[in-house]
Each structure stands twice: as structure tokens, then as C-alpha cells.
Symmetry: C2
């Protein structure tokens, strides 16, 4: 059984378990990590030694005696050695953030986008990355990688942008363009990872969460479009063709208002940003948003639903009214609601999430569990 591939798979799974535990419960000793993870003490010792050497973890200065036996040393995420860069390429702006391993935003650079030509957008993003990189290096931090979120469907296997309608991109091989632009901007070569904006926003909430809960998490993004990023079984879930979470085109009202897709009664027809721009739209939008969240609750049984995106920030009543709808159903059905809350990083959710994508990819095997 001890082929290199198998060992690497298990090692990466277990590394991610230990790092998530240490982030959620800072100061655990090796013995406590072993107990909480179900791993043997010798496995935890080997893995923490590697994680310490590579700058993911640090030990506290002084060991703590715990009754009999050897004193145990508390372990912490090392936020002073490594950092992550997140890039959001949006329709109207490009935003780049430097983020610590604990999810703290260390610096932000953002600009209105220069247009939607892929080369120009890559050059613009690369220039901002160069500035953020410089800031991080000046703080003595090593950049582990760069994550990029775009408003479109990504093919996970090839890393191509399959379709980004609001940018006018289709079957675009973005990563090589971006690599050239980063090199031209003087950014040293580090791994670059690409994913959909709602997907990375979900990862941002998941990877930087304050608990080690692995129950399903759904990030609902309300903007021009309405989409969702889904994390389940400790992995990003993107479906058979990378299109899971296209909830803006789930129907909430058969024969309802006309949607931009040509059908009637889609979620976007109720609370996409065009629908919200109409006078007196918000009350109906809030109630129907509650119905969408309830449908997601029934279908996915998540432990947490996070609401973000520009519309949810401009119209806080959307979430408030949705919570009323959800509370009514929860009470009448006798079912405990999942946690439903606003995105922690506000407008920076996708950029910070893109940084979290670096963690997610570097700490976990890309697919399910089995090699294929």
C-alpha cells in the first residue's frame, strides 16, 4: 500500500486537518491535536515537525507543564512566516489583497477595471499583485501562492475559463496569460490557482472560519447575478461540469416574472440587481430571497449559509427579511435553522476567498479522495 501517491494523499488530508484544528483552537499541544484529530501521536509529531519547518505552524515560546509527563508545547498557526495573495477580477474592478494564514487582510489594492480584454485585465491585475507582493516581502513574509476568482464557470481539470458572460469570455486559457503578465510585472514565480468568484468566497468563509466544523457551507452571492459556492465533505463542490450553485436560475415561482434567461420566476428575476433597481422591489425581493435560502436548506442541509455580494450590502433588508421567512418555517416545521449570516469580508469576500483558494489547493488533494 505504501506507494508514494497514497502516502502523499493521506499526508495532505492529515496536514489540512491539523492546520484547521490549530486555526480553530490555537494553542493545542501535539497530544491534544492527536486526541482531537484521531491521528496517532507519532503521526502528529511527524506532521507538525514538517509544518513547523515549512513555516505553517509555530511553537509558543514556553512549554506548559500538564500534570505528569513531559511538558507540552502549545502550537499556533504561524502568521509571521507565510502569506497569501488573492485576486478578484470582476466586471467593474480588479482587487488584490494580501492575507495572512489566519485570514487577516494585510493590504488591499483595487482599481476600476481597464476593460474586459483578457490581456489588459491580466496586466492590470499583475501590476496590483506586484505592489501587494512588495508589501508582504517588506514585512518579511513569504508568499505561498496567488489565487484568482473570476465571475464565470471554470473547468477544474484544465483551469480554463469555460464561460464568463459578463466579461464576454468563453473557453479562455487565462492562467498562461496571467503567468506572463505576472512575470512581466516582476512578480517571482509562485503557484497560481483559478476558480469561480462565488466558489472562492465560500472557501474564504470556510478556510478562515473560527471553528473546525466541516458541515456543508453555502455562500450565496447576490449581485447582477445570483450564484452560490458550496463546500461539502471538506472540499469545494462544483458538480459534473463546474456549474453547481447556479441558483440564480432556479425557479421560485412558476409563471412568475420574466428573467433575463427567457424563463419565468427565476431567483434573479426577483432579486438580481436589475430587479432590485425597480422602485418598491425590496419587500417582495426579501421574502423571495428567504424562499431561495429555504430551498437551499432543504436540498443541501447545510450547517451554515453565508450571504454576500454587492446587492446584499446595498440592501441589508434583503437578508433581514429572508431571516423572517426562514424563522417562520423553522418554527412551523419544528426544525433547527442552520446558521445564516452576512459575509465576514463584505465586498472583499471574493478577493480574500481567492487567497483561501491557495490554502485549499495546497493542503488538499484536488478531487474527492480516491486517485482516479
Amino acid at each position: 500500500m505504501n506507494t508514494t501517491g497514497d502516502q502523499q494523499l493521506v499526508k495532505r488530508i492529515n496536514r489540512s486537518v491539523l492546520l484547521r484544528l490549530t486555526r480553530a483552537r490555537p494553542g493545542l499541544s501535539r497530544a491534544q491535536l492527536a486526541e482531537a484529530s484521531g491521528l496517532t501521536k507519532s503521526t502528529v509529531s511527524l506532521l507538525t515537525r514538517d509544518l513547523l519547518n515549512e513555516g505553517w505552524l509555530r511553537e509558543a515560546g514556553s512549554a506548559v507543564a500538564s500534570g505528569l509527563g513531559r511538558p507540552s508545547t502549545p502550537l499556533f498557526i504561524d502568521a509571521e512566516a507565510r502569506a497569501l495573495i488573492g485576486v478578484e477580477i470582476a466586471v467593474e474592478w480588479v482587487r488584490v489583497v494580501g492575507v495572512s494564514l489566519l485570514g487577516e487582510v494585510l493590504c488591499t489594492h483595487e482599481e476600476a477595471s481597464v476593460g474586459h480584454a483578457p490581456g489588459a485585465m491580466c496586466a492590470q491585475a499583475a501590476a496590483l499583485v506586484a505592489r501587494v507582493h512588495q508589501v508582504l516581502v517588506q514585512r518579511g513574509l513569504q508568499v505561498s501562492g496567488i489565487g484568482v476568482g473570476v465571475p464565470g464557470a471554470i473547468d477544474e481539470a484544465t483551469g480554463r475559463v469555460r464561460f464568463a458572460p459578463n466579461l464576454g469570455w468563453r473557453e479562455l486559457d487565462l492562467l498562461p496569460l496571467l503567468a506572463r503578465a505576472l512575470s512581466a510585472a516582476g512578480v517571482p514565480a509562485v503557484p497560481v490557482h483559478l476558480q469561480n468568484e462565488a466558489d472562492v468566497a465560500a472557501l474564504g468563509e470556510y478556510e478562515f472560519s473560527e471553528d473546525a466544523n466541516t458541515g456543508p457551507l453555502i455562500f450565496v452571492s447576490c449581485d447582477v447575478g445570483v450564484g452560490a459556492g458550496i463546500v461539502l465533505n471538506d472540499r469545494l463542490f462544483t458538480g459534473a461540469q463546474g456549474m453547481a450553485g447556479e441558483i440564480g436560475h432556479t425557479v421560485l415561482k412558476i409563471d412568475g416574472p420574466l428573467c433575463s434567461c427567457g424563463r419565468r420566476g427565476c431567483a434573479e428575476a426577483f432579486f438580481g440587481s436589475r430587479a432590485l433597481a425597480r422602485p418598491r422591489a425590496t419587500a417582495r425581493a426579501g421574502a423571495s430571497f428567504g424562499v431561495l435560502l429555504q430551498n437551499l436548506w432543504m436540498a443541501f442541509d447545510p450547517s451554515c449559509i453565508v450571504v454576500g455580494g454587492g446587492s446584499s450590502l446595498r440592501h441589508p433588508a434583503l437578508l433581514q427579511q429572508a431571516l423572517v421567512t426562514l424563522a417562520q418555517y423553522s418554527a412551523s416545521a419544528g426544525l433547527a435553522l442552520p446558521t445564516v449570516r452576512a459575509a465576514r469580508y463584505g465586498l472583499q469576500a471574493a478577493a480574500v476567498g481567492a487567497a483561501a483558494l491557495v490554502l485549499h489547493r495546497q493542503l488538499r488533494p484536488l478531487h474527492g479522495g480516491a486517485p482516479s
Copy 2:
């Protein structure tokens, strides 16, 4: 890294990969299995040796020479050594099937249920299991385990029935009752596994499928209630509280017809069996069923949707009309439809699926990928 738990985890993942490959493509050699699975030849050799010894696989009588080198021996699932037993405890009947490792139904015993008292239902099921067990043993087959599907929510961690409204069960510890009844009926002790009926029906379609595709599969069951079983990342997906797939109470029409749950416009209000019993209900039901399937398609991006349950068999127009709705959307959106088809095992879907649950549990770790 080489702790016993880690090795067992990887071993079970890889065993299931090899068995699914061999079921989908009978006659592969060890070298071909290595190529198709990405495992090393030595790993495949070790695992197939175990699987041969344990009666999961068999070698063909004669080796096949393949150009240079050693002749390669084709491998097949061994349907002559082991078999599975599936039990469906339904509201109106109890059904027990004997199933081969290839998904062939070898025998069926079913009866109208004697009532809903847990002890009496377990005794009735155990008597039917005893008959099926006898038939299988007479054919020289060894029973690997017994799977049980019930119409309710199951707590995966404890195996308790959390809530089965149509049986009147709540927080019921069914497995010990069943074990006693099986012992009293003279059934030798084998592992017994319990899960929700729609979940096991999904596993039946997945484990006994003719391809090794691991794309998401959704089994939609239409009966008194409407529910779904979901397989993704090569695992049954049941959500944070075991309630994922409660799609009968997703809303298809805000302010629509009254549902038994007190809300308006739920899927069950359109095509639950009570709604279908009304005159002239089927046309509207079929179109709205198409909307439900489309919503599932957008949310989960499955590679396959399977439609089953009593209502779908009594009203074949339901699926036909839903396919019209789906085809219209597929054409207008320029998106390729997932496979959408009727359940292969008809009314036996849950019983055969319960047998597949035995395979699923014995070949895979219970949760995600990481030990917790």
C-alpha cells in the same frame, strides 16, 4: 504516516476504485486496472490478491497473451461467491431481496406490512430475510451483509431513525431491535446497515451502474412524499443533520397551492401522491416536476438524475412531461442536459438500493476522506 488507520483508509478507497472499475469494465487485467486507476502495479497486485481471496473478484480461466511480457489474466467481479441482502421497510409493505455483487436480483419476498409497531415490523422483516438467506446459501453464496432502507431521516453517526413521520417513529434505535429479530429468526450474524430509502435507492443506481462515472447522481423518489438521494464525490451525501434531499418541501411557486406542511407552492403540493389523485392534476404536475428537476440541475450540476418511486411508475407522463420542460430550457440556454432516466429497478429500487448500501459501507470509509 504509516499508522494502521491511515493504511486502512487508503486501502478501502482503493479497493472500492478497483471493484467499481472491474464492474464497469469486466475483464481488465491488473496492468489495465493500474493504468485506469492511477495506482501502481504493485498496489493493484496486492489489492487484487486480497479481493480474490475474499471472494469479491475472480480470474478468468485462461490467461490472455498481450504482446511481449507475461500473459495478463482478465479479472471479473465474482458473482458466484458473495451476495447481498436488501430490506425495504415501507409504510404499506416489507420487501426483502437477494442481490448479486453485479446488481442482479436473485430472489424477492414481499408482504403487506403487519402494522407500524417497530418490533412487529422487525419480526416480519427478519422472517423474510431468513427465507432469502436460505435461498442464497442453497446457491452456495455467502451473505456479506444486510442493508435496510426506511422512509425517514437517519443519524449516520449513531444509526438511529431520527424521524419517520409516515411510520410514526421518532428517535428509534432500530438496529438493536432488528438484530434481535434476525437472531430469533435464525439468521446468522452479518453486518447490518441502515439508511433512508431515497438515499439507498440512489446507491443502488450508483453502485450497480454500468459505468465508473463518479459525477453527482440524484435519485428523485415520487410517492406520498417527494425526496432525493444524492451521491457525490463517490459518497452518499446526507448534509449536516442527515436531511439533505428534502426536495419535496422546496418551493416551486411562491403563493402556490397549499402543502401538507402548511406552506404554499412546495413540490409535494404539485406532485405528491395526494395532489396526483385529484382529477386532471397530471399535466400541471408534469410541467412542475420538470421545474423541480431543472432546479436540481442548476443547484447540483449532476451527471445523472434518476426518477423513481410509486407515483412515477403509476404516472409515466410525469417524467415524459418533465423531459419536455427540461429539453426546452436546455435548448434555450445552450446547455447540455444531464442524463435523466427512469429508475432501473422500478418498485424494487429501495430494496435493491439497501443491498447496495452494504457494498457502499463495506468498501468505503463512512465519512469524507479525513479521519475526524
